[in-house]
């Protein structure tokens, strides 16, 4: 049994134990969940240390027959791209559990169900990044919706039921299109090499252009909804506004990455020709997302809506980097997924604490926090600076790589995308000014600063943001070979410098 399977199954076992053992002691439940996620995080770091960076093949592979009549296997394995995303998920989870200790207390179904759902979600998140069998991926992809649906609908705030249903239906719609494409490619594989769901084998199929385009679109729309890309984005702000901060972190930080991850792993690897056909369209959508998301973020009065729209802008960058089809763009996009995960996590967690203290998520209800709660204000500021890609913090490296990688192939897109970094200054600094600076808003004088638990939870995130800004090499070393491989397999080579040395 591969170590990968162990990591994947551990949280599920934890969830089952939690569900079966009758206990009303919510502190104990929380500690148990924290323990399980911590163990998983530690093992996943062990997994990373045993990972061979130079090897672009799948590692830690395991394959067992599951439904043999359709040749469906339980097949898992990781390469550089999936490894960093799994690490992102497993590291963020204990942080989220610790940071949102009291979030579930007022939920509809109690504390225990909350952590059962969270743990189950962790298994699914690991599974979705590890699956190398298309059918298995699909199962994880759709199953992931269930815990999130209940987490939003049962523990959120405001219009939570409507937001949860919108999220679920929107995602199911995408998933359905993808299912059609999956069946399509399965049938084609049956005609050519014997029916299979194995990714590596599906990648070598010869598909005629029109069919390939349709299959591609089925996958792409599903991932564009997940990522989300303009104009499929409207579920995200609603979901983020209604979900608890912890759920939002998982939703934006990890789950949405399935969209961009899927674009690389399935859209480009399975359908390189169709990817080429649709690249102009996708780059256009990505650029629109960058600018549109930024403008929308500027106009938000709700802090959660603001973070959601900044994420839409950042997902635009990621998608642009992916479809630029250069090694810089691809590596940058992958790195961006990780960096965005951490900076959004920081923003959402701190915003969550701010909201819990003030009892409001309207930005203008805060004010002068820098003087009342300096630590909270500073951590928010650093996270915000990472969000606007300040050099020296993590997002900068990835944003720069994406822009440079895009410029070498699509200069116009990169130039318009650069406008996004000006707008980023606005959408971060406006809330910073409103919430952290200025005179203290009446009612905020007695807000408590972060307590020890919250400091412990946020410290690693801030640390990662700073370290990855100065020394992104370890992560880039993992990402680079796989990214280069993806670009090469798709039939692209990096544009050469215009002048020869």
């Amino acid at each position: 049994m591969s170590l990968l399977t162990v990591i994947g199954v551990l949280p599920l076992i934890g969830a089952i134990i939690l569900a079966v053992v009758p206990s009303k002691n919510s502190e104990l439940i929380k500690k148990f969940a924290l323990g399980v996620t911590l163990i998983v995080a530690v093992i996943s770091i062990l997994l990373a240390t045993g990972f061979d960076k130079a090897d672009t093949k799948m590692q830690y592979v395991q394959s067992n027959s599951w439904i043999s009549s359709f040749n469906i296997n339980y097949a898992v394995g990781i390469d550089g791209i999936s490894l960093v995303l799994i690490l992102l998920a497993t590291i963020l989870l204990p942080i989220v559990v610790l940071a949102t200790w009291n979030e579930s207390d007022s939920g509809r179904w109690g504390v225990k169900s909350f952590y059962v759902l969270i743990l189950a979600l962790e298994t699914l998140m690991i599974g979705v990044f590890a699956a190398t069998d298309l059918f298995l991926f699909y199962v994880f992809f759709e199953a992931m919706l269930i815990p999130i649906y209940f987490l939003i609908g049962g523990y959120g705030s405001g219009n939570r039921s409507a937001a949860a249903i919108k999220f679920l239906l929107y995602s199911l719609f995408g998933g359905l299109l993808m299912l059609a494409s999956i069946i399509g490619i399965y049938v084609i594989s049956g005609n050519q090499i014997g029916a299979t769901f194995d990714l590596a084998q599906l990648a070598i199929l010869e598909i005629d252009n029109q069919t390939e385009n349709f299959l591609f679109l089925g996958f792409f729309i599903a991932f564009a909804i997940k990522a989300p890309l303009w104009p499929f984005h409207t579920w995200l702000p609603d979901a983020a506004k209604s979900a608890t901060p912890g759920t939002s972190v998982l939703l934006l930080g990890v789950l949405d990455k399935v969209g961009t991850y899927g674009m690389i792993r399935f859209c480009i690897e399975l359908f390189p020709d169709a990817s080429k056909t649709f690249t102009p369209l996708i780059i256009t959508l990505a650029v629109i997302s960058i600018i549109y998301g930024a403008f929308m973020a500027i106009g938000q009065s709700d802090i959660k809506g603001l973070i959601a729209f900044t994420s839409i802008s950042h997902f635009g960058f990621i998608t642009m980097g992916i479809f630029a089809m250069t090694s810089q763009g691809m590596s940058g996009a992958n790195l961006y997924m990780v960096n965005h995960g951490f900076s959004t996590a920081a923003l959402f967690l701190i915003a969550g604490w701010m909201m819990a203290r003030r009892g409001s998520s309207t930005i203008s209800d805060f004010g002068g926090l820098q003087r009342v709660t300096p630590v909270m204000a500073w951590t928010f500021f650093i996270a915000g600076m990472s969000g606007l890609a300040l050099p020296g913090l993590s997002s900068f490296v990835s944003e720069f790589l994406v822009l440079v990688g895009t410029y070498t192939r699509y200069p116009v897109a990169a130039v318009i995308g650069t406008l996004g970094i000006v707008l980023a200054a606005l959408y971060i600094l406006i809330p910073v000014q409103k919430a952290l600076q200025g005179p203290t808003t009446p009612g905020n004088e007695n807000l408590k600063d972060l307590n020890i638990r919250e400091k412990i939870a946020i410290a690693p995130v801030i640390l990662v943001i700073v370290i990855m800004g100065f020394y992104p090499k370890p992560v880039l070393d993992v990402i680079n070979p796989t990214s280069a491989q993806v670009v090469t397999n798709a039939g692209f080579t990096d544009p050469l410098a215009q002048v020869s040395k």
């Binding site: 929308m296 406008l419 200025g438 100065f470 215009q498």
Partner: protein, 631 residues
């Protein structure tokens, strides 16, 4: 092969760690934080001096040293090391930054002594020093970019240091956003450079400059100019500098006069190999510099806020430097020379203004000053020395550096040279006018402050740095210009002697005489106008020109009309479109199914008879279908 030095990283690491420590430790460091910050700043100056003397002892070709720290970003053909480069150009900046920086640190101990957040202030100052040193020491555009945005951050934090006042917080934001526009230019320049050369380091690009087409180089040059405009408050991104005076005065002296705002000059000088090969970009540099030098000067004539008057002056003086950098190889050296002398006299003036404010209970309106010279003699003396330096009276520092720029402008050749020469002369005249105005309104004339308390001279901790800086503003020009010391020093970096002089249009003596005449005209107009007793309120009825100058030549109105309001209305519209159209379509899918379901639901009325009727109708329809198919 360049020599390596292990000291360079300390230059950046020391202030960076100090800043981090001060911020992390928090209130516990209140009692000793400022001392540590000063010591750290002084030690960076010491390292700078050590490096300088070591450099001097080497031959001209071997003076540059590098230090590779680690591989920062390496993807595909893009390889960027975190590496530092100290050459003849950067050492000038290192000494200026750490030297003036240390003096201002010391000054701030006294100036900020009553502020509860003094520790935080010093943390930001150290952060600034670290970022600024990284800016001038980075060996590639990308490393420079880190420092470039780092100083922007420090400037943002320091402008908004007293952000309890919403206006100050807004000023900080404005500065950051205007700078970001410039930063976008720099990042575009890096992208174009990478696409063109496959490299982003100075040396790598310099080697290949000749291979690139003029179009490519012009594109890079224009983007670099945009970056310089943002950071150095040049037209059309100049509007933030006046508002930036919201920061504490030492900040205005260090960041918004002596060092950070001159980063644009550094960038263009550092990129001399690009601009020299891109005449169009160079012309744009000259135009921007020319416009800004007049723009700033005109604004300076009407400002009653002493700091804003000085800020306008800074803008104008940097206009001189930018103009000089656009005048080809010889211009770079003169730009740097003016930059260094300006660093002394402008910092001295700002600190002097701070000293006056200290004595005047933070009053900044010059209309409420007057006759302060009697009460604060040392401040007045030092301010006077810096004043003589900035207007360019021989043998003070400004004389050497500004005359050289005016001379180079005249010698640029043809009608362009004449136009530039007259522009710079005009600038010199206006400079003399507004600086004389500042001095007269502040230190001479009738006492116009409305209270009984006489202003007291500032403590020694403030006066000593001012004194040292004013000594610098007296002698620095002489030392830098003696035997063309700086020109020769910078020669390996900017190749000033490569250019063949196309004959002199005007000889240095004539230029000096012309300048002096212009200066005297400016002074006499000012003396004539402000000799008499002044009211403590600004006159209401003034010419259109004065109104325009008071309103900063409508720069904010234009920005608001051109960008802010259209941007706000765009955001408002997008919010509506997003809700009504995009999300509207999604919600339409839901509401259509709901409506359809509601309509169909009326069929389910619960009456057995209607169900039975439907069954009958169904059966009949079925029979009809079968019949029609079989028949």
């Amino acid at each position: 092969m360049l020599q390596t030095s292990a000291n360079l990283a300390w230059l950046i690491a020391l202030p960076l760690f100090s800043s981090a420590i001060l911020l992390l430790i928090g209130k516990r460091a209140n009692s000793w934080g400022h001392v540590m910050a000063c010591i750290v700043s002084a030690s960076t100056f010491t390292i700078g001096l050590v490096e300088f003397f070591a450099m001097q002892s080497r031959s001209a070709e071997n003076r540059a040293v590098t230090q590779k720290l680690f591989t920062w970003i390496s993807v595909g053909s893009l390889n960027v090391d975190a590496a530092l480069l100290l050459d003849q150009l950067s050492i000038c900046f290192v000494l200026l930054i750490t030297g003036v920086g240390t003096l201002i640190h010391i000054y701030s101990i006294a100036y900020m002594s009553l502020d509860l957040d003094r520790r935080r202030f010093f943390a930001y100052l150290n952060l600034f020093i670290a970022a600024m040193l990284l800016l001038v020491l980075g060996d590639s555009y990308l490393n420079l970019y880190v420092g470039w945005e780092g100083v922007g951050l420090a400037s943002y934090l320091l402008i908004g240091f007293w952000n309890q006042k919403p206006a100050y917080a807004t000023a900080a934001k404005k500065a950051f956003v205007a700078n970001r526009v410039g930063d976008a230019g720099l990042s575009l320049a890096i992208m174009i450079a990478f696409a063109t050369f496959g490299d982003v380091s100075f040396s790598g690009i310099k080697e290949q400059t000749e291979l690139a087409s003029t179009t490519q180089l012009t594109a890079i040059g224009l983007m670099l100019l945009l970056a310089a405009c943002g950071k150095s408050a040049q037209f059309p991104l100049q509007s933030w500098l006046g508002d930036a005076m919201a920061g504490p005065t030492p900040v205005s002296a260090l960041i918004h006069a002596a060092t950070m705002v001159t980063a644009g000059v550094y960038l263009i000088t550092r990129s001399n190999f690009i601009f020299d090969a891109a005449p169009t970009a160079q012309l744009m540099v000259v135009i921007v510099g020319g416009i800004t030098l007049l723009f700033g000067a005109i604004i300076g004539t009407a400002k009653d806020d002493i700091k804003k008057a000085l800020a306008a002056s800074t803008m104008s003086q940097i206009g001189y430097m930018i103009l000089a950098t656009g005048l080809g190889p010889i211009g770079y050296a003169f730009a740097i020379m003016h930059l260094l002398t300006h660093g002394f006299f402008k910092a001295s003036m700002f600190l002097g203004a701070g000293s006056v404010m200290h004595g005047m209970k933070d009053e900044v309106n010059m209309r409420r000053y007057g006759g302060i010279g009697k009460f604060m003699p040392i401040t007045a003396l030092t301010f006077g020395l810096a004043y003589l330096a900035i207007i360019g009276v021989p043998p003070f520092a400004g004389f050497y550096s500004k005359d050289k720029i005016i001379e180079t402008a005249f010698n640029a050749g043809g009608s362009k040279g004449l136009l530039l020469g007259i522009t710079t002369l005009l600038g010199a005249m206006i400079t003399a006018f507004y600086m004389t105005r500042v001095v007269l309104l502040t230190f001479f004339g009738n006492e116009r402050w409305g209270h009984k308390d006489e202003p007291a001279e500032s403590p020694a901790l403030m006066l000593i740095p001012i004194g040292l800086l004013s000594v610098g503003s007296v002698v620095s020009g002489f030392f830098l210009a003696r035997g063309e010391a700086l020109v020769h020093w910078l020669e390996p970096v900017v190749n000033p002697l490569k250019e063949h002089h196309s004959g002199e249009f005007l000889s240095p003596i004539i230029v000096s005489l012309l300048t002096l005449t212009a200066v005297i005209i400016g002074i006499s107009i000012a003396v004539n106008k402000y000799r008499s007793a002044q009211a403590d309120l600004a006159p209401e009825k003034v010419s259109i020109l004065t109104t325009a100058a008071r309103k900063d030549l409508f720069q904010d109105s234009i920005n608001e009309a051109a960008f802010m309001r259209p941007g706000q209305s765009l955001v408002g519209r997008l919010l509506k479109i997003d809700y009504l159209v995009i999300d509207g379509l999604v919600r339409a899918v839901g509401s259509v199914s709901l409506t359809a379901a509601n309509k169909l639901r009326t069929l389910q009325n619960g009456y057995v008879r209607s169900y039975a009727l439907m069954m009958v109708i169904g059966a009949l329809a079925l029979i009809a279908v079968i019949w029609s198919v079989t028949a």
